[in-house]
């Protein structure tokens, strides 16, 4: 290979890589395709990049351990209920949902329960409507993956809390993806599970003190609600009530 040839080749490999990373414009893509059709090295590189990515995403991600997260939250929480210093005023707005996640139902449940009770009816309506809307073709999931370690980080930066994501395949409820939704006047995480031919939507958002509620049926859809670890959970599906209760139990059983 002459020097000019190999210099050209490196450029091509960087183009192969840029294409793989979704960073190539149309003109460069055309140039690359023309070259790659007759270049075994670039063809191999294209395949190897995909394999490498699959390897890396298999078990390398290091989320913050729960114990560390709890310690940091403790530190971030103001020691006294006095007015926060002006420096952290904007930050406090960011932290509040996350702190709610940690402190959970421990605070101010009684007051908000009375306030929220009349609104619950319309919340279940909203949930059923959202579920039906999501069943329209192409609306079900924004991130389609059966891997909880793909679905969970997908919510980072899209939502102001980190929803728990569990794989329940062993219990007969395979995870198929997640999406953003809007409920109760706020963005929420929707996790999508399958149960036989049915779809179960699990809506998750930090609790503001709604009490646990039994299942209710609406428009042929069944709902189950529970709270856990400072999160609200609403599961909705056209599967039979028993299946939803099994789903809830499987979720709570799974660490």
């Amino acid at each position: 290979m002459s020097e000019a040839d190999s210099a050209r080749h490196c450029e091509m490999l960087l183009l192969v890589q840029a294409e793989f990373d979704g960073e190539l414009d149309a003109a460069q893509a055309a140039q690359l395709n023309l070259h790659r059709a007759g270049c075994a090295v670039c063809q191999r590189a294209s395949r190897a990049l995909g394999e490498t990515r699959a390897m890396l995403r298999e078990g390398l991600y290091e989320p913050a351990p729960q114990a560390l997260r709890a310690r940091l939250l403790e530190r971030a929480a103001p020691a006294r209920p006095a007015a926060p210093p002006p420096l952290s005023a904007r930050l406090a707005d960011w932290l509040r949902p996350a702190l709610g996640f940690a402190l959970g139902a421990a605070s101010a449940v009684a007051v908000s329960l009375a306030l929220l009770a009349p609104g619950t009816q319309s919340l279940t309506q909203q949930i059923v409507a959202s579920h039906i809307r999501a069943l329209q073709p192409g609306h079900l999931e924004d991130v389609a993956s059966t891997d909880q370690h793909t679905v969970k980080p997908w919510f980072d930066g899209r939502i102001d809390f980190s929803p728990p994501v569990k794989e329940l395949r062993g219990a007969g409820f395979p995870l198929v993806g997640g999406r953003l939704d809007y409920l109760a006047g706020r963005p929420v995480a929707a996790l999508v599970y399958h149960y036989r031919k049915h779809v179960i939507d699990l809506y998750v958002w930090p609790t503001a003190g709604v009490a646990a509620r039994a299942q209710t049926g609406r428009q042929g859809y069944n709902l189950v609600h529970w709270t856990d670890g400072g999160m609200n959970f609403w599961a909705v599906s056209d599967a039979e009530p028993k299946a939803l209760l099994d789903f809830k139990e499987a979720w709570q059983r799974t660490p």
Binding site: C10, Q17, R47, A48, E51, P63, R90
Partner: protein, 167 residues
Amino acid sequence: MLPHLDAAHNLARWLMRDSAAAEDVLQEALLRSLNYFPSFRGVNPRAWLLQIVRNAAYDSINLNRGVQLVPLAGSPADIEAGAIDLPAEADDPEESLIRARDVSRVRALVAELPVELRETLILRELEELSYKEISDVTQTPIGTVMSRLWRARRRLIEAAGQAEKMP
């Protein structure tokens, strides 16, 4: 910032290669983010926090081991070597990669990468940042980001190719 705690921890963990050191770096980074936050005017809090984590990690590495970071230029010669060092035509890279697909082995391979290759790879493959975002976080030109990324990936591809010859 806490919504991005996992991302921050992931980067700190891979830069420091040690969970206790990563925790120290993370705490330092969160402290700095509290101080810098009033002046934050960007639109990408995750990349912003990752940059703080990265700087805190580099500070910690320098503090603990003296200045050991050898900046690599990312010259075309490096990339050229990559073109030549790809597994030979007769090898089937897919086959050999599948054989090497052992998580602990992949972890070790990544941990052995020089820090500037490692961070670029982690930011791209695990945090899924764009070239531009990686360039911002690492304060490195995009061309260098691309060549570092290629060198990191090439090492993994080569290592997987060698696995074929191992018993």
